[in-house]
């Protein structure tokens, strides 16, 4: 089950919210746990057992780590990290590894094309790892209540797409959190904004991206066409991920949780380092806190650590070489920026920095799009005038004209426009303006919900040709 489907929005969620709010406060965690399990089992009836196994395992390991003896806790940590990474690798990367072994060693390990990684594994294994490491470092005590830990690991708002919430941030919320109509209002508002981002922007932008990058003969794409397609894809990824993050935060708020923000208008960044401080923040923090400064590289750890993080981040995003290249590419850029130094970087004119960072980001998304590295190379060639496709063509003009409002809306949505408007209205300061703004917001949210839902009806669109051609 995903958040952006009618079944979830109009059946699962209302039932869950109603039951949550009619239940006595002390049983609400139980309601939420049950719904979280159902949510996960709905999509992955088999992998739910893996999740439950992982919960039990990490719960016990957490207790083991918090033992006084140093050896026991170190052993517990090592075992826990190994098992969590194992789950992640086996579920996500088994096919990739087998393919590469086949390619290198010439073996014939059968690789099924249809392996679909269970949803949420990438996120809950990271959550579990952060919990264990935090226990080891003494930042948090091992959780005594199994039910709390189960809820932490299975909580459905953060299950499929993050954010990677840490236990220390959320443990007090399991004990005490507010629940009122204000929560529902704010949370559902945030959810609708995320839904609109996903359905109205990301899904529509994906049509453009596929049109310009999805063609089989990508090497014939033009220079501007490649840039246009890559830009559309970058926006698509941003609106998909931030849309899901908004939905997660909104759903959390409905149930009284407060999760960390995951995106902070990343395309407003002035340099690539800045970009990563605004893009998928919780993931960046996770790798930064737990991986970047592992003291295995001595004094060189600053740079070597970056490359390790880049590699891991790439592999985390997907089991394919292009993601590895993508991660290493970012690590190299950030290492270069680090080597240059922030002060020196700031001396460069702002406009130049912005242009530079956008070019780097576009290149990175071109790497992100093509799982086939030769297509990736062709696209990058096209982007930098080395391809065969020419500069521009009629197709680009037609597509731009046909999508101009969509593109404009997407670009505007990359900036904090709504908060700007709200602030201006607040500065105006009259009660009438306040009333107007509140009413307008409510109406806008309802309209967005309705329009998104109508588009979701169309998502099952599968025209069948009247005959096989």
């Amino acid at each position: 089950m995903v958040f952006s489907e009618l079944f979830f929005i109009y059946l699962f969620l209302p039932v869950c919210v109603i039951l949550y709010y009619v239940t006595k406060e002390k049983y609400r965690n139980i309601v939420l746990t049950i719904f979280s399990i159902v949510f996960y089992a709905w999509g992955e009836p088999i992998y739910i057992w893996l999740l439950l196994l992982s919960v039990c395992m990490n719960y016990l390991l957490g207790k083991m780590i918090s033992y006084e003896t140093d050896g026991t806790s170190k052993f517990g940590l090592a075992l826990g990290l190994l098992l969590n990474t194992g789950i992640l690798v086996i579920t996500q990367h088994a096919g990739f590894i087998a393919e590469n072994i086949n390619a290198i060693a010439g073996t014939a390990i059968p690789v099924s094309e249809n392996i679909i990684a269970p949803i949420g594994t990438a996120f809950y294994t990271l959550r579990a790892s952060s919990y264990l490491i935090d226990c080891f470092w003494g930042r948090i005590p091992a959780e005594k209540k199994f039910s709390s830990f189960l809820l932490y690991m299975s909580l459905f708002p953060i299950m499929p797409y993050g954010p990677i919430v840490r236990y220390e941030e959320i443990r007090s919320q399991f004990i005490c959190r507010s629940a009122s109509i204000v929560n529902i209002s704010e949370g559902m508002g945030r959810f609708i904004i995320g839904l609109a981002k996903k359905v109205l922007l990301a899904d529509q932008l994906s049509l453009i991206a596929d049109q310009f990058l999805g063609a089989d003969n990508i090497e014939m794409q033009t220079v501007l066409g490649s840039w246009y397609g890559v830009a559309a894809f970058a926006l698509q990824v941003y609106f998909t991920l931030s849309g899901f993050a908004d939905m997660a935060i909104g759903l959390g708020k409905v149930f009284g949780f407060r999760f960390e923000e995951n995106f902070n208008h990343p395309f407003m960044c002035s340099d690539v380092t800045d970009f990563w401080q605004r893009w998928h923040i919780t993931l960046g923090k996770f790798f930064h806190d737990y991986l970047l400064y592992i003291p295995i590289f001595g004094k060189r750890r600053k740079y070597a650590g970056l490359f390790i993080v880049g590699l891991c981040m790439g592999l985390w995003h997907g089991a394919s070489w292009n993601f590895v290249i993508w991660g290493i590419f970012f690590a190299a850029i950030i290492a270069a920026e680090t080597a240059l130094g922030r002060k020196n970087l700031r001396k460069i004119p702002t406009a130049v920095r912005h242009v530079y960072s956008k070019i780097i980001i576009a290149v990175s998304f071109a790497m992100f799009y093509f799982t086939n590295t030769s297509d990736m190379g062709a696209c990058l060639k096209n982007m930098f005038f080395i391809g065969d496709g020419g500069f521009a063509d009629a197709l680009l003009g037609v597509s731009f004209k046909n999508n101009i409002f969509l593109i404009a809306a997407a670009v505007i949505a990359c900036f904090p426009v709504s908060s700007f408007i709200k602030r201006k209205a607040e500065e105006y300061g009259s009660q009438r303006m306040y009333t107007f703004m509140q009413t307008a917001e409510t109406v806008a949210l309802c309209v967005l919900l309705a329009v998104s839902s109508v588009f979701l009806v169309n998502s099952t669109n599968e025209p069948m040709l009247c005959f096989q051609i």
Partner: protein, 819 residues
């Protein structure tokens, strides 16, 4: 610097009650005395919110726009007057009046921006500790030994444990009293009576001192993250709004509109040099100071953190007094118990909020009175020319304060009301839509897509384990939406809002992937995969494929060799893109003519039927549908003409055919693109009926008789997108047509859907016609022709089939299914 600071600390730590009451000066030191119940938490509750907020550094940026906006005309006026009359700073005693402009700036947290940056990779400064936090040399501020100091317990290992594993409410513990250092109180509370005429800047200095200053060695492992985690936890557990990390936030409560001039009590930045404020102020506990930190944490453990310090009676008095004059803050009513102490009923709700709002006015009143009393003597000592001004300001402030409190009440109420409306509206819409989707009449067929709507799956353990059952249920719910076709039309309309409205009929749009055609790709584009709409006509772009033509010709040659006595014809039909694609878009499509010619050259034994020239000749007529990927009956007719010429048999020419025409045809291209251009411009659908009688039998794909039927179905039975399905009545299996042609020739047609429209025109040319769809045919083509006694075999497919995926089907029926 530190010397100055210390001196300030000392002055600040004078027993304040002595200043206030004058007469009785309680002893500063006092020996430990037994107490019966542990009194917890000496820090006023009201303070916590502010403290935490400022410590986390998230609200350190106050909304400067609001601050500048504050239209205290009176204050400004007064400032002007003061500047004119008395350029010197107003003496301390008199400054009480202009408190509004001299409210201390909030504690500045110097390190926070860098810290928050450090959370992501790639920051410049590499911290030295494991967790990435810089440690700086400690600058301990030793308080005066006003209290008895016992040797400190080793808190390094103890503290976190104390915090994280709270015990239930402890019984009376005579020893473990919560005690606080005096310094703590003096800073945490509102030291309204401190008069520092001599060293105003020092006061400011202390107020501006960074909260995250040097750490103490106790937490050298990672003191700050520990502190942070606790702050976060406190924040969460008290239900405070966690501030978004990146946005500047106003000091106002969220959802509260700011009335003009409301921020009487809020921080207003003042010039550093002259702003010595005597306003009541809250100072965040300095967590770098061990005593304060212990005190701060001890609130959240019920063990007092340092047993070696005992409060003096003066401090206790001070505490009581200070609690009574706390200024009104947003969180002032938030007097919840510490959730960690009440494990048995942990779900404490934030139910005091309303109460706090209703009490706001009372507190306001109380506050005002208190400040009035304090102010009164101040005014007396002012020079006569200033007195009037100051009194005026005081009066105005009071009025403003009252109205501000009133407005806040109203505003908060309003905000809550709007949220209630919004919450109910959204949840109402959601629930009602859910009910509508469950209870509404569900469609079973989608005419626009020509497919059956998903059905409720049947339960079985196996399907449950394979997640088919659950996915089936959600798929059913997502698909079988009541009024689905209406919504789909709405989507079509709304999708057109993505771009500029159409200006003329020559509008061009692309659907699906498209790029210039260079070398033919490995895998051919399928019909509908890449569509261009131009001049109201939708065309599927053709790509060809590497080796597709060769493979097709090879298969036909192989088949021809296996049937030496039978005439085999191959007709590869071009599509609309060959004839109607404008010149400037030619490069997006490969040439169908080249593919057809290539095939025809490669055919060694079979007879090629080249329909391209005859179609090109008639391209001004309506030979291809505009809204469908097929040709029209007329196009099929010309193809038949070319075929019959090659097969040398009879043919009924157009003049003798009966044409039936239906309007409102919007074909398959509309379902593929959803284009409004197509749906707004339907075309006519036409089919021909040849003279003479014939009977039609339907067989299944394994050539088992099923039913008698019609060669051309009724248009009324089909939706406008499926009018093409009237040929062979939409049958995809094997169709046998027996005619009155009487020439004893049996034609077997292996075809894709393009040939469907041809069959009615051939009923006068062959006695028996067997029509087999290559995509569904399950037998071996050779055996089938033998069985039916075929004299002529026609392979009639479009270029997309000849070079695309359907080649696999062709290969199957020619080679694989041989018995």
């Amino acid at each position: 610097m530190s010397e100055k600071k210390n001196s300030f600390m000392q002055s600040e730590m004078r027993p304040l009650s002595a200043l206030r009451k004058g007469s009785e000066a309680p002893p500063v030191k006092e020996k430990r005395t037994k107490r019966t119940a542990p009194a917890r938490v000496p820090v006023p509750q009201n303070n916590i919110g502010n403290t935490v907020m400022s410590l986390t550094g998230q609200n350190k940026v106050t909304d400067t726009s609001t601050m500048q906006r504050t239209p205290f005309r009176a204050v400004n006026r007064m400032q002007k007057v003061r500047e004119q009359v008395n350029p010197e700073p107003v003496p301390a005693m008199h400054r009480e009046a202009d408190e509004t402009e001299r409210i201390p700036a909030p504690p500045v947290v110097k390190e926070m921006p860098e810290r928050s940056r450090m959370h992501s990779i790639g920051m410049e400064d590499v911290p030295e500790t494991m967790h990435g936090y810089r440690t700086e040399p400690e600058m301990p501020i030793q308080p005066e030994p006003l209290y008895e100091v016992q040797p400190e317990p080793d808190t390094e290992n103890e503290e976190p444990e104390v915090f994280y594993e709270p015990e239930p409410e402890t019984a009376e513990d005579p020893v473990s009293e919560p005690e606080i250092p005096e310094k703590m109180i003096s800073e945490t509370e509102y030291d309204e009576e401190i008069i520092l005429e001599d060293e105003p800047e020092l006061l400011y200095e202390s107020m501006n001192k960074p909260v995250y200053e040097p750490k103490s060695p106790e937490y050298d492992n990672d003191p700050e993250s520990f502190v942070q985690s606790i702050q976060r936890e406190i924040q969460m557990s008290h239900g405070y709004e966690p501030e978004p990390v990146f946005e500047k936030r106003s000091v106002y409560p969220e959802r509260t509109p700011r009335p003009e001039g409301y921020n009487v009590y809020e921080e207003v930045s003042a010039p550093k040099q002259e702003s010595v404020s005597y306003r009541k102020r809250a100072v965040a506990p300095d967590l770098s100071n061990k005593a304060e930190r212990d005190e701060f944490f001890s609130k959240y453990t019920n063990k007092p953190s340092h047993r070696h310090v005992r409060p003096t009676a003066a401090l206790k008095n001070k505490k009581e007094q200070s609690e009574s004059v706390l200024p009104e803050h947003k969180e002032s009513g938030n007097k919840r118990e510490n959730p960690f102490l009440k494990r048995e009923n942990p779900f404490l709700r934030n139910n005091k909020k309303q109460e706090s709002i209703s009490h706001a006015a009372e507190e306001e009143q109380q506050e005002t009175e208190t400040s009035e009393q304090i102010r009164q003597p101040a005014v007396e000592n002012v020079r006569p020319e200033m007195r009037e001004v100051i009194e005026g300001v005081v009066r105005m402030q009071r009025l403003e304060r009252e109205s501000a409190a009133e407005m806040e009440k109203e505003a908060v109420r309003g905000s809550k009301r709007f949220h209630t409306i919004r919450g109910i509206a959204i949840m109402g819409v959601t629930i009602l839509t859910g009910v509508f989707m469950l209870a509404g009449e569900k469609p079973v067929y989608s005419p626009q897509e020509n497919r059956a709507i998903a059905k409720m799956p049947e339960f079985s353990v196996q399907s449950l384990m394979r997640s088919e059952y659950t996915h089936g249920i959600s798929g059913y719910f997502n698909d079988a939406v009541p009024m689905r076709s209406v919504f789909k039309k709405a989507v079509s309309v709304m999708s057109n809002l993505k771009g500029l409205p159409e200006f003329d009929k020559n509008e061009t749009a692309f659907y699906g992937s498209a790029a210039e055609m260079g070398e033919a790709p490995e895998k051919a584009l399928e019909i509908g995969e890449s569509v261009i709409i131009n001049n109201l006509r939708a065309m599927s772009l053709y790509s060809g494929s590497q080796g597709g033509e060769e493979r097709y010709a090879e298969l036909i040659n192989e088949f021809t060799k296996s049937l030496p006595d039978t005439a085999v014809y191959s007709m590869v039909a071009p599509t609309a893109v060959s004839f109607y694609l404008p010149e400037k878009y030619q490069k997006y499509s490969a040439s169908e003519k080249e593919s057809i010619d290539k095939i025809n050259i490669l055919l060694s034994d079979a007879v090629p039927v080249d329909v391209y020239p005859i179609l090109a000749e008639h391209k001004e007529e309506e030979i291809y549908a505009r809204t469908d990927h097929h040709w029209t009956s007329l196009g099929a007719y010309y193809a038949c003409e070319a075929f019959v010429k090659a097969a040398e048999t009879d043919f009924t020419y157009k003049t003798n055919l009966t044409a039936n025409t239906f309007s409102g045809y919007v074909g398959s291209m509309y379902t593929m693109t959803g284009s409004k251009v197509l749906s707004n411009n339907p075309e006519n659908f036409e089919y021909f009926i040849a003279p003479g009688r014939y009977s039609t039998e339907y067989y299944d794909t394994s050539f088992r008789f099923m039913d008698h039927g019609k060669l051309i179905g009724s248009v009324a039975d089909h939706s406008p997108v499926n009018y093409y399905s009237v040929f062979l009545d939409g049958n995809n299996n094997i169709v046998h047509v027996t005619t009155e042609a009487g020439n004893d020739r049996t034609l077997v047609v292996f075809k894709d859907s393009f040939a469907n429209a041809m069959i009615p025109c051939l009923t006068t040319s062959f006695s028996d016609i067997y029509v087999c769809d290559i995509t569904t045919f399950e037998l071996n083509a050779h055996d089938f022709c033998k069985e039916t006694g075929a004299t002529d075999v026609l392979f009639a497919v479009s270029t997309f089939s000849a070079a695309g995926e359907n080649l696999d089907c062709l290969e199957d029926i020619i080679t694989d299914n041989a018995e």
